[in-house]
Symmetry: C2
Subunit: 469 residues, 2 copies
């Protein structure tokens, strides 16, 4: 059996490795246009900020490492055709000075082409000093440019935007983050929680401009400034566009795979509409576990989980990919924030009535030196079922997000969660965990809501009785 | 309504506070023989080790704080009689120089008398320089004695034993921990996991002696040494007995409450056999969620959860205390270790056939500076249901134990857990969480086991076919 994987990122390489794990005999070829494989794009900001020494460190494997496991990796190769009827791809490769065209036959094709940075259509976006951020090459270019710059504007206050902003700030630049929407991290945090993160980054000296879309980038050949809404021009030496990622679906279209609303359509086996073509990672669309709607989940962790499912199905082991909760976490400076499930905002947009339980507590016993403040916001539907959670603190957030991911996936109510057993020791936790406190707050709010409803019913009942009598 | 609570620890005071939260009008009196209330006994070792400045810091409330919430607290009072038929307790109190006897009427009595350190019956255990460890007074005495000592022996290598050993080591003493059983932390860890903790504490310069019970403590009026098994005497300046805690059930017996195998028997409302007497904390016995057997759960977190249940039932809100998983965590030096559910050892003792999934991984992305090693061991029954987990690392253990507590309580299988969504960012986690890796390992082992069984069946089948033919 021959498997060809297009894409050398987390999704593609994990699919290849998993297939090899399950089956020693499959012929596996991974083909990528990139120079590097198996690096962690999420880590690029942390190289900029100096936490990770150099870009080479975030490359986890070289093509030779895969050869040892009998996985063939072809880098800097451009796939130019997918002949679905013949189970063949054509690709171009530089051999010496010649551009050579080659062919590969497959029994199964895996499309793991990821996404491309979205460049908003506007004046000036291709000037020197304007960067997108996706590959190590992008990271290196940003770093070189930043070394000779004083001011930077980061457009887009999502995770990557904030992380890059911190990276550049740590390099000594004067940094402004701008966001079209009236809050930062709009996809994962509600406004009240976003404000906590915003306060933190402002305290660290990063400027934040909200609710104003970028109009144009100014300059002759090189960026000189940017104009937001009808505001005055802000002078800057560089602009980083962290305005999101669009699924890369060119290969899938060539192969005749159906596209959904957002990206490549796959079933729960990660199989496209073409039976022997699978797709994983940022280029596919998934289902939201709460709303049931199709959505995107452009996360490394999602790609890796999808890769396992695709690999199992390709080698004939039945496996299903579950709808997602988009469990995420990020660290900016010392602040960790994470979220899973729906925000209150997204729940309301989906027509789900919710209440939210909140807690402000500490990460250790109150008297324990070094205890950090922690904020938890838990979203429940009006039956008490937990459908989302957001957590912010200077430590111990990621694992709490995972706990909440389990609670949501298991369809727990706030009242069940409030009675769950959490571990305790003064140096590492509070005797009542902040998650439990938020669940208790949600329970109390639900109770008050139901009481108000009953009272209303009673008083309506009384009114109608009075009318009768 | 009048409620009297006997005991000023986590169980007693949380019951009082919760009753007040639900009902403004109940008359509440808390009565304790101790000088201090509302302190955290779990924090005593951390004062010794210097992490927390002084014993006063771990006292979270003074009696006056409770008075503000209209809760009467009587300290240094000895309850001498519970007249169940008359709903009255008698207690003795020092007023000036006089020992005064007083009475209190109650509608509901809450027994939260905790436990007393178990002193093994042996020669020398009442010599000067031999200490138990339970109250702040004990802590202060140990500290004073340790300040003029060079060598210490801690008897018992459970959580408290290890934490105290680290405290004394940090004070500069030469410390030996001894344990009757052949491993440390026998209640919560399997031998292989215990060995990781043991290696750590030995590296930190603490001596460990296993599998040898203490025979006697030597000395005239003051401790001079200790003899273990038939070994030579070990000279020491002090001995700390961390040999466990026995439920304090004197009050319950006086009140005519039924005792179970280990401690006071309560139903799921935390009600004793006497309907208007409730009991919470270390003095009651509970049910194990996995085995269904009655057991003890002498943890501050358990007491606090029981207190909420007792309070709710006393004020007339229905609430049930769930069987326990004994979710625990501890920190010795920089090492955090925790466990929840059954160990492999305890599962086998209970006649449950199990397999275990293990992972050795990191707490951050591999390339991220400061990533610590993490060890996970997950215990599953042969249907794959997770029934226990042990986790050790230099960070981020407690919350992972909580995640596993949820997984076990929700009766998840290793295969369900392996498909669960965890959050990921390079500075705070790995793209595949160590918990997921352990779950995958468990799945693989189960699969191999089932294959072996099938092969055996097949070969038996072939043999019988051969016999037939």
């Amino acid at each position: 059996m021959k498997v060809v994987v297009i894409g050398g990122g987390a999704g593609g390489l994990s699919t290849a490795s998993n297939i090899r794990k399950y089956d020693e005999n499959v012929e596996i070829t991974v083909i990528t246009r990139d120079e590097h494989i198996a690096y962690s794009p999420c880590a690029i900001p942390y190289v900029l900020c100096g936490d990770v020494d150099c870009f080479e460190n975030i490359i986890m494997h070289e093509p030779e490492d895969y050869l040892e496991r009998n996985i063939d990796v072809i880098i800097q190769a451009e796939v130019v055709e997918v002949k679905e009827a013949e189970n063949t791809i054509k690709y171009h490769l530089q051999e010496g000075r010649n551009d050579v065209e080659k062919e590969l036959k497959y029994d199964y094709l895996v499309i793991a082409t990821g996404g491309s940075p979205f460049i908003p259509p506007m004046e000036g976006c291709y000037l020197d000093g304007v960067f997108k951020i996706r590959t190590i090459k992008d990271g290196k270019q940003i770093m070189r440019w930043a070394e000779k710059s004083k001011k930077a504007i980061v457009v887009g206050a999502g995770l990557i935007g904030l992380e890059i902003a911190f990276g550049l700030k740590n390099m000594g630049l004067d940094v402004t983050v701008t966001e079209m929407l009236p809050q930062i991290v709009p996809r994962s945090l509600d406004p009240d929680m976003a404000k906590i993160v915003q306060n933190y980054i402002e305290k660290k000296g990063i400027n934040v401009i909200l609710g104003t879309p970028i109009e144009k980038i100014t300059g002759e050949t090189q960026v000189e400034g940017a104009i937001f809404g009808d505001e005055e021009e802000i002078r800057t030496d560089m602009v980083i566009l962290a305005t999101g990622v669009r699924p890369e679906t060119t290969m899938a279209k060539m192969a005749g795979c159906d596209l959904g609303r957002w990206a490549i359509e796959v079933n729960e086996k990660m199989q496209t509409s073409v039976p022997n073509i699978y797709a994983v990672g940022d280029c596919v669309e998934v289902y939201d576990a709460i709303t049931g709607h199709n959505t995107q989940s452009p996360l490394g962790s999602t790609a890796v989980r999808q890769a396992k499912i695709a690999a199992r199905n390709i080698v004939g082991i039945d496996a299903k990919f579950n709808p997602v909760l988009n469990s995420m976490v990020s660290q900016v400076g010392n602040l960790e924030f994470g979220a899973v499930g729906l925000t209150k905002t997204s729940a309301l947009q989906n027509g789900i009535k919710v209440i939210s339980g909140k807690s402000k507590a500490l990460t250790k016993a109150r008297y324990y030196p070094g205890a950090k403040r922690i904020d938890v916001k838990m979203i429940c539907d009006i039956k008490g079922r937990i459908i989302g959670c957001q957590i912010i603190a200077e430590e111990r957030v990621a694992e709490r997000v995972d706990t909440m991911s389990l609670a949501i996936a298991q369809e727990m109510t706030c009242s069940e969660l409030a009675n769950t057993e959490f571990s305790y020791a003064p140096p590492v936790s509070m005797v009542i965990d902040p998650i439990i406190l938020a669940a208790e707050d949600a329970c109390a709010k639900l109770q008050r809501m139901h009481k108000r409803k009953e009272n209303k019913k009673d008083s309506n009942h009384n009114i109608s009785n009075n009318l009768k009598s």
